[in-house]
Amino acid sequence: MANVTSTAGEPERLQLLRVLGPAHIWALGVGIVLVGEYMGWNFSVGKGGMIAGLVACWVAGLLYTCVAMIDSEVTSTVAAAGGQYAQAKHIVGPLMAFNVGLFLVMAYTMLEAANAITVGFLLDTVAGMQGHSGLNQQPFIILAIMFLAWLNYRGVLATLTFNLVITAVAFLAIITLFVSVQFGASNVPLDFSAVTTDPLPYGWVGIVAALHFGLWYYLGIEGTCQAAEEVRSPARSLPYGTMAGIMTLLIAATMTWYVCSGLVPWEYLGQAGTPLFDAARVTGSTGLMILLFVGTTFATLASANGCINDASRAWFSMGRDRYLPSWFGAVHPVYRTPYRAIVFLVPIALIFALGAPLDQVVTFSILSGLLGYTFMTFNMVMFRNKWPLDTIKRGYVHPFHPLPTIVLLILCSTAYFAVFLGYGTQLSAMMCFYIVASLWFHFRRYQFVRRGDQFTMPWPKPVGY
């Protein structure tokens, strides 16, 4: 896309390139999330047992279906970089937008750190299998983050095309493992005896607790709308890409639970770093082991790649609106990427990737995501109230409103309780962080924000204002 010349007297402002189609949106959404099948989801089995892990998988799937429905309607109408951040700015207000921007940056940066940790852990595991135990994981963690940041720096089309390819390979690896095991490729048979002998080791509370990590199966699918400003046809591509993504993930999540629960003892599965790769190890098939090694590596790289893309767009948008220093709102003159935001977030990802345990980093990411989903509930209600259906043209109108919103709110409340069971300190610490950051924004930072510039959509005045 060419430079856009603004009104007379103002300098030209570089815009992000509109080059993406529905397949890229699918790749962005699934690419970020598919890693949830390769690691992290299995902690839900650890928190509640095998049955709880499956229930969490489906309940979380329902939560994310609501998220995808709501997000598709709002994003297909508010097509601007930053996704939910831009939605909050137009529908709720600047402070909410600042918070949503932070949710996005924290959720994606922590997810990126978790991916890098998994790359290091996987390489360590494989090195150990080859008789070289004690591999130093840190250089690989740093290399993964730096390489993907460089790729993002160079351009969005190459980045997401790269994601499209490696996501497809990672998805096919899960299907291949599932089909191969069904046709007897495993030396060890599937065993689901724990479903009957030890169905709910923690009782019913375990099912609720498992929802915490059940979210990890799908966390980040809402990232599709981060690219709204770089999509050729947002009203068409965003709903198609997002809904296709959630369907892909529901299938992959169920297959993953089935294969892993059948091949790996649940007690081991509940604390495993790379569960699908471990399932492939149990089969004894060298081909499947190599495939799932490649799948895990690709899934983590695709996810980290998408996370850098999304987190930097959110940070960039906040800089452009002066919610953060405007220095971050710059677009690269050649590559047209938010390069300063990309570079700035690299050390933050490294701090957590190199210094925090995987389950903690995953929990930080989940909590930020959960706060974002809670925001979506009242954001949707406010959107319909302030601009009823006949007042502005929407690219997509989700059915059964307000049922998805109510279901989402109930599931979010349950998920808070699930996180509280075992990880209450992190939850409280994170809430304190957001409260202090909000007060900082309202009483200090907001003075630098141009009021009228915060509403850029060509909509009529909201009802009630």
């Binding site: 650890g46 207000g93 600047p94 402070l95 909410m96 924290m106 030396n187 060890v188 048979p189 065993d191 005896s193 923690y202 509370v205 607790a209 091949l263 790996v264 003892p265 007690e267 081991y268 190890r281 149990v282 089969t283 953060l324 220093p325 405007s326 220095w327 957590f352 210094g355 925090a356 345990p357 389950d359 903690q360 930080f364 809670t374 808070y416 309780f417 509280f420 069971l421 075992g422 990880y423 300190t425 992190q426 939850l427 409280s428 610490a429 994170m430 809430m431 962080f433 409260i435 909000s438 900082w440 309202h442 200090r444 141009r450 009021r451 009228g452 915060q454 509403f455 005045k461 204002y465």
Partner: protein, 126 residues
Amino acid sequence: MAYKPPKQGLAGQIFDVLTLLVLTVGALYIPLYLGLAGAAKVPNPIANPTWEALGQNATEQQQWAALGITDPAAANDIITARFDYSFSWVALIVMAVLVIGYFVMVVRLSDKEYREVIEERFGKKP
């Protein structure tokens, strides 16, 4: 008349970024540093463990072996570790107040700011 924000100097911009950085790393790292974070999953190893005593059938024993663990003693901690889901109602109420209070505060302050935005963009409410 449109609100004209003050121009922020370089030092102010750096200060603001550092404030956010300290807040982020501090809030997330302090619980880890103080050992307050993390799930309360505690192993309850049994004496003289055997696969049978640990509740592992023949197929599961094959699975453990394929994962590189052939000695039941090595799996003792993994198999017997359990979370402790007992909780304090006071802590639960504090968490609920924090979450709900946070959203109420943000929405109310946002609405105050939003009215300024709408007023500047569309003019005052008649």
